[in-house]
């Protein structure tokens, strides 16, 4: 685990870069982490997915997989990969400050 200060906020993240404490997340932090992931600007569609990820995590205790995102977030699988080319569920979870989703499908 490493603690870094991002956008004025102390953030604990694991070796893969996922949050240990989702409550340390802020929107300003998300903007900076998106840049680390090669996404220079978060569009309204990005935010829609990010907020959906957090909502799912709070309700279910785990982030959704790509398939669940495609079915329920209002953004199609194709668009999800345009928004997050390096893996929508994984990268969006990182930016949304929640643990890595563990589903296989």
């Amino acid at each position: 685990m490493t603690t870094t200060t991002i956008a004025g906020q102390a953030v604990d993240r694991n070796d893969e870069g996922f949050f240990e404490h989702p409550e340390q997340w802020t929107e300003d932090v998300a903007v900076e982490i998106a840049k680390e992931e090669g996404i220079d600007e978060l569009t309204p569609e990005h935010w829609q997915v990010i907020h959906f990820m957090r909502k799912e995590y709070v309700e279910k205790g785990t982030g959704p997989t790509v398939r669940v995102l495609g079915k329920t977030s209002g953004v199609s699988v194709k668009e999800l990969y345009q928004l997050f080319p390096k893996g929508p569920a994984k990268v969006a979870a990182k930016i949304a400050g929640i643990p890595k989703p563990r589903g296989c499908i």
């Binding site: 790509v66 398939r67 495609g70 199609s76 194709k78 990969y81 893996g87 929508p88 994984k90 499908i105």
Partner: protein
């Protein structure tokens, strides 16, 4: 070194022969790994517009079924086993093959058919799903797989 690219070959046409390749391809894309699926021999059924709807579990010659071979050979047994398996997978929210493959294509995974098998079975482009990326030779498959891992299933 993390894996950055995979080419998954699906050579079998049974339900248990097809799903592992699809799950690995989908999982690769979820991790941001570049992926291509190459369907050969009976694996072609997985991308055959009509046959993909009727993929069955092998009840004969499949010790994993824990069923006597003669029982497995009874008429309708494969259909019953397939029905039970599909029900179970539905409970775990594993999508049926047609839906799953289309989603995998949407994730940006390449979907290819083996030219030699297509010719052997007397099939044509029209027999396959619309999102098929191409019917290619084994040489072209190696070109596609260049720099990545090849997984044979």
């Amino acid at each position: 070194m993390p894996i950055e690219k995979v080419c998954i070959i699906v050579s079998k046409g049974s339900l248990e022969g097809i799903y592992p390749g699809l799950i690995m391809a989908n999982g690769a894309r979820a991790e941001g790994i570049e992926a291509n699926l190459f369907f050969t021999f009976f694996g072609l059924d997985a991308i055959h517009k009509k046959r993909m709807e009727h993929i069955k579990v092998a009840t004969v010659g499949n010790p994993g079924m824990h069923m006597a071979t003669l029982v497995g050979a009874l008429p309708g047994m494969s259909g019953i086993a397939t029905h039970m398996m599909n029900k179970k997978m539905d409970d775990f929210d594993i999508p049926p093959i047609p839906e799953f493959l289309e989603m995998i294509s949407d994730t940006g995974c390449g979907i290819y058919a083996c030219l030699a098998s297509v010719d052997l079975f007397g099939l044509a482009k029209e027999d396959f799903v619309d999102y098929l990326d191409g019917i290619i030779t084994v040489g072209e498959m190696y070109d596609l797989a260049d720099g990545g891992e090849i997984i044979f299933t």
